[in-house]
């Protein structure tokens, strides 16, 4: 059960990476097509939901982890920050203030990397 949950959790995390890479390309000057933004946004939606659901399931499935462990609470907080930034980027994409959209995207990227750091180092576990 642990390995199956980890697999789906990882796949969801890789979908988040797809979004990060596609929006990074746009922020670096690539021409964004509606198809690319559609794929990136759907990967963000599915990946975000998947990491949350399978992440919590994993935490509850393993006896040595408690839902209220510091690293799990930190990961949840980072997840909510990343999700909020992601929703803002999706809403404001194509608007006039692209500098703000790009800034939000780069902050989101840092938050996602911080999430990965939290998952690997598990501070307080």
């Amino acid at each position: 059960m642990y390995h199956a949950l980890l697999f789906f959790h990882m796949i969801a995390a890789f979908l988040l990476a797809v979004t990060i890479v596609m929006y990074s390309a746009v922020a670096l000057g690539a021409t964004s097509s509606p198809r690319m933004l559609f794929v990136a946004d759907r990967c963000w939606d599915v990946g975000g939901l998947g990491t949350l659901i399978f992440g919590i399931w994993l935490a509850l499935n393993l006896e040595q982890y408690d839902f209220f462990d510091f690293w799990i609470l930190l990961a949840l907080a980072l997840w909510f920050v990343a999700t909020g930034l992601g929703q803002s980027v999706q809403r404001r994409m194509g608007g006039e203030d692209m500098a703000a959209v790009n800034a939000m995207h780069w902050i989101r990227t840092i938050v996602v990397i911080a999430l990965l750091v939290t998952m690997v180092w598990k501070p307080g576990a």
Partner: protein, 144 residues
């Protein structure tokens, strides 16, 4: 068994982080290449292969070797099958990356939005994404 799988020494973390970060960038870049080539944006596809896929493959593969050395999995007899799957997927992938980058580069140079060069790069990208999916499955489920 699952509890054991979730525990690892702290000094493995940096190597694991580099490996996963490279793998995530690799899959993200491959998806970008796929969308770009499918949308006939050859220049973006070529740049994503050259500046995204190739460097992230190097980071992923370097991280893999680093964590394998720390875990000493290559010293085990027999070598675990999930390690074999990892090597069998990642090493040939470099060849596919080089071929698809050359094809995409030639297509950009000749300004051909259709034809065998774009088609070859597109098919190879799909194959690499499927291979990456298999590698993620092997790394996370660790079949014996």
């Amino acid at each position: 068994m699952s509890a054991l799988a979730a525990i690892r020494p702290d000094d493995w973390n940096i190597a694991l982080f580099v490996h996963i970060l490279g793998a995530m960038a690799l899959v993200g870049s491959l998806a970008l290449v796929l969308v770009a080539l499918a949308g006939r944006d050859l220049r973006l596809g070529y740049r994503a292969l050259l500046l995204g896929v190739l460097p992230s493959w190097i980071v992923m593969r370097g991280g893999a070797e680093w964590i394998a050395e720390k875990e000493k999995v290559n010293d085990l007899d027999p070598v675990p099958s999930w390690v074999d799957v990892g090597y069998s997927v990642s090493d040939p992938m470099l060849l596919l990356i080089i071929i698809s980058t050359v094809c995409a580069g030639l297509a950009v140079r000749r300004q051909r939005q259709d034809g065998p060069l774009r088609g070859t790069a597109l098919v190879m990208t799909v194959i690499m994404l499927v291979a990456a999916f298999v590698a993620v499955w092997a790394m996370s489920t660790k079949p014996t």
